[in-house]
Structure formats: C-alpha cells, structure tokens
C-alpha cells in the first residue's frame, strides 16, 4: 500500500476526487479502506446501524469503470453515509426505531437517488435519535453513539451517527436532517461542518417525516468546500415533494471564490447571555474577530422573541409529529404486536411496543396541543409566535447578510447527563431552532476547543442565501485550521 493510500481516510472529498482523477487510488481501493476502518473502529462509536459493504464495492467498481471510460458524475466514486432516515431501496431503513427495525425501503429518497446518480458510493446508514427526536443520540433503539473526541460523551443529535462517523474519518461526508438543530448541533459537538439549507431547497421525498414544516435535509462534512459540492447535487426542485421550491440551484462551489470583504455580519446580543458557557462564548468571539480580519463588518442585531423559540418549537414540532407518526399502525409496515384482541388493541400495542419513550412523549404532547379545547391556546398561539420570530429575522436581515453566534450552549455533554430531563435536553437547541421556525438556511463550523472538546460557530442566512454561509465558512477555514483537527483515537 502506498503512502497516499494510508492517508485516504484523512482526506476531504475534494482531495479524494483529485486523487481519483490522478489515479493515486481507485474507488474500489478507497471504499475497501474505509469499510476496513469502519469494521475496525465503529465498535467504539456505534455510528452505523447498517454497513452496506457489498453494494458499496459494486458501486465503486462501476465508478472506476465509468472513470476509465471518461464518464461519471461529479461525485463519481466518492464515499458517503446516509442518515438512516432516508429511504434506500432494498436496504433496511429504521429511522433509529424498533418500529422500523424490519422495514426494507421499497424506493429511494430523492436525496439518495440524486447522490447515486452523481456517482457517490454509499458505505452504510448512520445511527440517529429515534425518528430524529433527540439532541444526544441516546433515544436510538440501536443504542447511543459515542463522541470520537471523548467516548463517554454524546456526539449530539439527532444526526449523531453521521457527525461521529465524519469526525472519526470513517467517511468524508454524510447526509443528515435538521428539524430543530439536528445537523448543526452534532456538527458543533464533533468538530465537523453541518449545513441545513433553506426550507424546500432539498426534496423531502423519501425522508421519513418528523415535523414537515420544519424538516430539511443537509450535509455533514469536514470542509465547507465539500458541503458546497454535496449541496449542489442534493438541492433542486422535486415534483414529488409538495413543498419543494422551483428555483435554480446556484453554483455553490464556484461561489466560494469570492471574498467576504464588506459582508455584514450580525451579532445577536441575547446569544451571549448567561445561558452560554463562557469559554464557548470566547471561542465564538475569537471566530468573529477572524471574520472581521477577513473584511467582514459586524453589526449588532436584536431578536427580541428568541427566548420563545424553544417553547414554540415544542408545540409545533410535536403537533406535526403526532400527525405524521399516525401512519404507524402495525398493518401495512413496521412493528406489529402479536395476538391482538381487536383492531384497537393492535394499533395501541403495536405503537406502544414500537415507539421509545421520547417519541411517545412527543406524540402525546402533540396530541394534547391539538386536542379539543387546547388548540387555540397552544397550536394557534405557537404559530402566531412563530410568525413573530420569523419577522424578527426578516428585520435583522434588512441590515445584515449573515447572523453569527454559538451553535450550542456548551461543548459535548456526557452520555446519560440530560436524557432524564426533557426540558434541559430541549434547551440545547436554543440557538438553532429559530432558523427552522423561519425556514432559513443555517450552518455550523468548528471554531476551536474548550477542554479538548470542539466548539461550533453558528451562521444563519436569509432565505436562499446559502452562498453567503458557505463563502463565510470557506474563507474562515482557509484562515484557520480547526477543521483539520482529528480526535486522537481516530488518526
């Protein structure tokens, strides 16, 4: 094995693409080396629910053949992992739940189809909080995922498996989904890059629904450049998703070249209140100083209803979840209780047995806020407050191009620390939830360490201003090297 092969796992997708083009290694060699690494290291992390070794090697062989013939898509032969929320035809798709432990997806999600058409090689399906409901990956039926920076700590959630695998160099990038912070918070906790684009930018077809007005697919990678590359493939109109936006996809990769001179960066005063760990706040302020040194100007902005974003979310998201998850009835697919007495017993026991604690809690919260006599006080009220929050952002974006701040209030917490207290867990998403409520694109990038644990810088843009986020992130990564740091056990 040559020296370049030894270091394949450490390379970004862009570097791997160059290596493949030069003929330093083949896609089959690259895929096999990462599969070996997964076999060797994932027992420490539990980042995978399913490893798809055979189809991956077959796809890699096809990619090598295409390359030799001068063909192949923009991701030809490049490895990726899918969060196990995306339906993958013929492959178990569990959404982290016992409910779908036996579910073989009969079709591909649009995201899966697009990445496959571009030539990507899928190494497997990553672990996640059950039905994406959680911020620590501890609600998964398949057990918690460990953070590669400290195995006793959570990688965040719900896309914790994707984030842990990318941080541990088991793959250069992975797909994720983000309903309240589920891409960005795990990215921050694991020192990776995570982007959730504008609502409707990427198709939700075949992505198992949690809260449909908030859910959005995105990317976890190690560089902003790779995020741009993948987003360009994943974004775009899809008639199979009724909320997909019909709007041209810009050249995200090409857009990285421009400078951020004159870019107006908004700082939210409330972000640095007592809820934020002081050392994390210092890292974020240092990162803002770097952006200033690159030519960005900072402006203070106000988001007066920010503190209401978490309670708003915990009405809207459970309401939509209770409706979406009513499809799991034990009849057409999913877990089915044995020896049911009658149809009602079949429904109640299949659901009682198939769902975990947090999912049941959210279904019940949603059922309550939508029930007769409570709808106006909770659901309607929350949708009104949601409008206020969205208007706050609209006003802020009249004066700035990007809003920056912390992604999470603290670095990665210990597994077991917050799982018994739903409210403390929910408050972990205080900085990220606003972007989902308002449908805005947002991103987290690594910006330093506190006690040897990564800290994330959060950036939010106006609707469809993903290019500003990616450019800002790329320029920051050219000026700093936090994103190249690798956890010691996974060098």
């Amino acid at each position: 094995m040559s020296a370049t092969q030894l270091e394949m796992h450490a390379q970004s997708m862009s570097e791997l693409a160059a290596g493949l083009a030069r003929g330093d290694f083949t896609s089959v060699e690259l895929t096999q080396s990462l599969l070996d690494r997964i076999a060797q290291l994932d027992e420490k992390l539990n980042a995978f629910i399913t490893v798809t070794a055979e189809p991956a090697l077959a796809a890699a062989a096809r990619a090598d053949k295409a390359r030799a013939a001068g063909d192949g898509g923009v991701l030809n032969g490049l490895p990726i992992i899918h969060k196990d929320i995306f339906c993958t035809r013929g492959v178990k798709t569990t959404c982290g739940s016992k409910m779908l432990n036996n579910f073989i997806a009969p079709y591909d999600a649009t995201v899966v189809e697009k990445l496959a058409d571009a030539g990507a090689v899928v190494l497997g399906k990553s672990n996640m909080d059950e039905f994406a409901m959680g911020s620590s990956n501890e609600t998964s039926f398949f057990g918690p995922v460990s953070n590669p920076w400290d195995l006793a700590r959570s990688p965040g959630g719900s896309s914790g498996g994707s984030a842990a695998a990318v941080a541990a160099r088991l793959a250069p990038a992975a797909t994720g989904t983000d309903t309240g912070g589920s891409i960005r918070q795990p990215a921050a906790m694991t020192g990776t890059v995570g982007i959730k684009p504008t609502y409707g930018r990427i198709s939700r077809y075949g992505m198992i629904a949690f809260a449909s007005s908030l859910d959005q697919a995105g990317v976890i990678s190690r560089t902003a450049e790779d995020a741009a590359r993948l987003l360009g493939v994943m974004a775009g109109f899809d008639e199979r998703d009724s909320t997909s936006i019909d709007r041209p996809v810009p050249d995200y990769l090409g857009g990285l070249k421009e400078s951020i001179k004159g870019l107006r960066v908004g700082i939210v005063r409330q972000h640095f209140d007592e809820g934020l760990d002081k050392a994390c706040g210092d890292r974020v302020k240092e990162a803002i100083a770097v952006l200033e040194s690159l030519g960005a100007t900072t402006v203070e902005v106000d988001l007066p209803n920010l503190d209401l974003s978490v309670p708003t979310y915990y009405v809207v998201a459970p309401a939509e979840c209770s409706s979406n998850l009513s499809r799991f009835d034990g009849v057409r697919f999913g877990h089915r209780a044995e020896n049911a007495e009658d149809l009602l017993d079949l429904y109640c026991r299949s659901r009682g047995e198939g769902f975990g604690d947090e999912v049941k809690r959210r279904i019940m919260t949603g059922t309550y806020v939508l029930s007769a006599g409570y709808y106006d006080a909770y659901y309607l009220k929350a949708q009104q407050v949601r409008h206020l929050i969205a208007d706050d952002f609209k006003q802020a974006f009249a004066a700035v191009d990007v809003i920056v701040g912390p992604t999470a209030p603290s670095p990665a917490f210990k597994l077991g620390d917050k799982i018994d207290d739903p409210i403390t867990m929910y408050l972990n998403d205080i900085y990220t939830i606003g972007a989902n409520l308002a449908g805005l694109p947002a991103m987290s990038i690594p910006c330093g360490f506190v006690d040897e644990l990564p800290v994330g810088l959060h950036m939010v843009g106006a609707h469809f201003a993903e290019e500003n986020l990616l450019r800002c992130a790329h320029k920051y990564q050219q000026a700093t090297d936090w994103h190249t740091a690798c956890p010691a056990d996974f060098l």
């Binding site: 036996n102 073989i104 009969p106 504008t198 609502y199 409707g200 007005s213 908030l214 909320t243 936006i245 019909d246 209803n305 503190d307 209401l308 978490v310 309670p311 915990y314 009405v315 009513s326 009835d329 034990g330 009849v331 057409r332 697919f333 089915r336 009658d342 149809l343 017993d345 079949l346 429904y347 109640c348 659901r351 009682g352 047995e353 604690d357 049941k360 809690r361 279904i363 019940m364 919260t365 059922t367 309550y368 806020v369 029930s371 909770y378 309607l380 009220k381 929350a382 949708q383 009104q384 407050v385 949601r386 409008h387 206020l388 969205a390 739903p422 409210i423 409520l437 449908g439 609707h463």
Partner: protein, 95 residues
C-alpha cells in the same frame, strides 16, 4: 399546569398508545413539565398576528390530477406482517 392521570390516559387513547403503569406515572410528571414549559407562550402579545402557515409564506403548489404511480402492491406488501391474496390482514372488525 399539572396534568392528571385521567387526562394522560385520554391523550394516550387519542394517540393510540398503550402505556404500562410505570409509563403512565412518568408521563404524568414529564408531560406536565413540558406543558408548563410551553405555557410561556401565553405571555407573548399576539393580538392581530396571523398564524404562520408556511415557513416561506407561500401557498402550497398544486399539480394536475393524473395517474403517475404504477401498481407496486406486491413489493409494498413485502413489508406487511400479515397479508393474504393481496389484502392486508387485521383482527376481525365485524362480529
């Protein structure tokens, strides 16, 4: 506001969830705390504010009502626990 066990039982029935006795006790405690938490919303002044119906403030797209799906019943039924002659089986509904 604290929820009663009766209320939680009613919610669980509406949600078609069978819970164990332990789960009921825990749900009463935790759901009460969640309801208390979201009660913060009541202090927001929302007089005259239109409830948000779409994150991008646009209307839902419509499509022509034409058949686009092909019949893949057999493949879809591979995921069902009990089928017979192309039908999904459930416990007897009519006595």
């Amino acid at each position: 506001m604290s929820l009663s066990k009766d209320q939680v039982q009613h919610i669980a029935m509406l949600a078609r969830l069978k819970l164990s006795e332990d789960e009921y006790a825990e749900s009463v405690e935790k759901l009460s705390r969640i309801v208390d938490f979201v009660d913060q919303l009541s202090r927001a002044d929302t007089v005259g504010v239109i409830p948000m119906a779409h994150p991008l403030d646009t209307a839902q797209r419509l499509r022509p009502d034409v058949v686009v799906e092909t019949d893949e019943r057999d493949r879809y039924q591979e995921n069902a626990a009990a089928v017979s002659d192309g039908l999904y089986l459930v416990p007897k509904v009519i006595e």
